[in-house]
């Protein structure tokens, strides 16, 4: 039995391989290669340039942690900005916070949104129709540099820095995000798998240090982002926001009525504890 296989092309020495049960969509757009296929274990899988972006089975882990940690850490998030996140997974989780009044989502490629609605409808679960949403098709880095709006939480849901998401890992981007946060605002960002890309932690830390009074990382274990825990970057001018008691988070979580499958107040508080090798990278 051979059949078609998908080999992820992240690492020369090692890769995860998926059995491709059915190719649903395959396109080369500009300088990118996008493929969506079905796999027995992970359901629908999307890969961009040979790298897994999202799967139906495990997407909730990443989307819950990148969304609910900042939104429950902030005492009253009303305005949220999502940069990237064209598949709608972050948007879906943000929409579940009924106290959020407005959501701006800046995605560089309208086609990603349309493709995700068609092939990954459960990622957005109708969230693209939420009246609080202002969907902007634009370069996220340019948007934050130019907007006059202020936000309570900014979530950067980007691709890998070796890829189209490159501009969302720069000091300029972090500075622009800082400048469009309200006082007490929080920024979070996808930051790679630290065991495999230790430099991404030290590089992000070095770029955030001059911009935010407080920065750190928190961890999440996503099965298809292989190689150990993934780090999510955290930045704010208020260091107490990532050091809140579990009871405080638990009260907000309970009050929201939101049901989650990975996130809970214990995971929230615990996620800021990092393995020593990540702390060592963080220290430079």
């Amino acid at each position: 039995m051979t059949g078609r296989k998908f080999d992820e092309t992240l690492y020369d020495a090692w890769c995860q391989q998926f059995r491709v049960d059915e190719v649903l969509f395959e396109v080369k757009t500009g300088h990118q290669q996008l493929v969506i296929f079905r796999n027995g274990l992970f359901g629908r899988v999307m890969a961009l340039d040979g790298i897994i972006q999202t799967t139906e089975a495990d997407e909730f882990i990443y989307h819950e942690m990148l969304t609910h940690v900042p939104l429950f850490a902030h005492p009253a998030p009303r305005k949220v900005l999502i940069v990237g996140g064209g598949d709608g997974g972050i948007l879906r989780e943000v929409c579940r916070h009924t106290a959020v009044e407005s959501i701006t989502m800046v995605e560089i490629d309208q086609a990603v949104v349309e493709m995700a609605k068609e092939y990954f409808p459960n990622h957005s679960a109708g969230a693209f129709d939420d009246p609080r949403l202002n969907l902007v098709i634009d370069d996220g880095a340019a948007f934050v540099a130019n907007t006059a709006e202020k936000f309570d939480v900014i979530i950067s849901d980007s691709t890998d820095p070796i890829g189209p998401g490159e501009a969302l890992f720069t000091k300029d981007f972090y500075t622009a995000c800082h400048d469009c946060l309200n006082p007490g605002g929080i920024m979070v960002a996808q930051n790679g798998v630290a065991f495999m890309q230790p430099d991404e932690v030290s590089t992000t830390a070095a770029r955030m240090a001059p911009v935010f009074a407080d920065y750190h990382f928190y961890q999440v274990a996503v099965p298809t982002y292989v190689g150990g825990v993934m780090t999510l970057a955290w930045a704010s001018d208020d260091a107490t926001l990532r050091q809140q008691a579990r009871e405080v988070i638990a009260a907000r979580y309970a009050a929201s009525g939101i049901k989650t499958r990975y996130y809970n107040p214990g995971m929230h508080v615990g996620a800021f504890n990092l393995p020593q090798y990540i702390l060592d990278s963080l220290a430079g």
Partner: protein
């Protein structure tokens, strides 16, 4: 260095004339996919167990890539533009290596984005460029073996001396950068495979020394290209050429896998040039024929690649006149061949250049506004001969 010129019966020109008529264009380069498949299979048979990675630079053409991908080839690329071609043909990037020893940061990022994770380096500065990508990429150290007999000595410009290998490996180890093997390129068109054999033997020794030192093993040997094409209308006995190489490879430790980067051997015999006499003039007793292709076009390899292609003209006349075959541009260097004795050619007659696949179209220019030859694909599908 002169071109071999064959005079064939006028009737033999008919099939070329038909192709020009059908395409409505001259000059043409005829890409014969069946010949390309034959070349690939011949080399694969002569080098069993060696993975063949086509050197795209010799003839960067999507149809060539498609045919070779179907045959199971991997690809040797050197630039972001070549990565784009591979993406176009949907070649799995795990079957590619990036072989340019000197890379801009953008080249590394573009190759990684495409999914190519094997890179060639030959010096400490280049090793250090991989520090940010050390978990993603693996490197091959390119070792230099000077080849005085090769027409194109590729070890002059790139490659470290064998004696430098241990220090470079130690430097990579210190930085936590993976070196998984060695590569070399002995240069092309050397008369025999003695240089290959010497290089394999030295690499074998370096690989064994590395093992003995307890360092991470070198598990891949890239023996480069340099497999010859015949520019005298003959055939290369590739099996005989490779026999000493096979014997040398058999001495490698079992854990070492081998790949080669054939370019010329695959592409050269697969393409034939056809161009047309645009005008002629009798000057000092010699007939000057001006063709619509020349050294700024498909015959650019006569300048850059030091290659003179075997030519064919068509006539039933027994008379011979001193002749010069010239390209179309205003530059006097644009002469394909002179000091020839040929039958008289008429305006509209054809000149055919054989073995014109490698470093021809690849290095053609648009100088003087003369358009490049158009590539016409023949025998595209394997079963074409069977199904008619």
């Amino acid at each position: 260095m002169t071109n071999l010129v064959k005079v064939s019966p006028a009737a033999d020109a008919e099939r070329y004339r038909t192709l020009i008529r059908e395409s409505g264009y001259s000059p043409l380069l005829l890409l014969d996919c069946e010949r390309l498949r034959f070349q690939y299979r011949s080399l694969a048979a002569a080098l069993p167990g060696v993975e063949l990675f086509y050197a795209i630079k010799s003839l960067p053409n999507l149809d060539v890539l498609r045919v070779l991908a179907e045959e199971g080839a991997g690809f040797d690329m050197a630039t972001s533009a070549e990565a784009e071609m591979l993406r176009e043909v949907a070649v799995s990037p795990r079957r590619t290596i990036h072989t340019h020893p000197i890379k801009r940061p953008r080249d590394i990022i573009d190759a990684l984005r495409y999914g190519c994770t094997t890179f060639v380096v030959d010096n400490p500065d280049e090793i250090a460029k991989f520090l940010p990508y050390r978990s993603r990429a693996s490197l091959l150290l390119r070792v230099s073996f000077r080849s005085p007999s090769a027409k194109v000595d590729l070890s002059r410009k790139f490659g470290c001396a064998p004696g430098e290998v241990p220090a470079l490996l130690a430097e990579a180890d210190r930085l936590g950068i993976q070196v998984k093997g060695l590569s070399f390129h002995v240069g092309s068109q050397s008369g025999d495979s003695a240089q290959h054999v010497k290089a394999i033997e030295t690499c074998n020794q370096l690989i064994r020394e590395r093992r003995a030192s307890g360092g991470a093993p070198l598990s891949l040997l890239d023996i480069g290209g340099g497999f010859p094409a015949s520019y005298t209308l003959g055939e290369v006995d590739i099996d005989a050429y490779c026999a000493p190489i096979r014997a040398a490879l058999a001495q490698l430790p079992d854990s070492v896998s081998v790949l080669a980067e054939p370019g010329r051997f695959l592409s050269a015999p697969s393409m034939t040039g056809v161009c047309t006499v645009m005008g002629r003039a009798l000057r000092d007793g010699r007939y000057w024929y001006y063709f619509d292709d020349g050294v700024y076009g498909s015959y650019s390899g006569q300048m850059f690649d030091h290659t003179h292609y075997p030519l064919e003209v068509f006539s039933d006349s027994a008379e011979r006149i001193p002749s010069v075959l010239s390209g179309p541009t205003c530059d006097s260097i644009d002469v394909i061949a002179e000091d020839l004795s040929l039958p008289e050619l008429q305006i509209g007659d054809l000149l055919v250049g054989h073995c014109m696949g490698a470093y021809t179209a690849a290095t053609a220019t648009d100088f003087n506004g003369f358009p490049r030859a158009r590539i016409v694909v023949v025998n595209q599908h394997q079963d074409a001969a069977l199904t008619g």
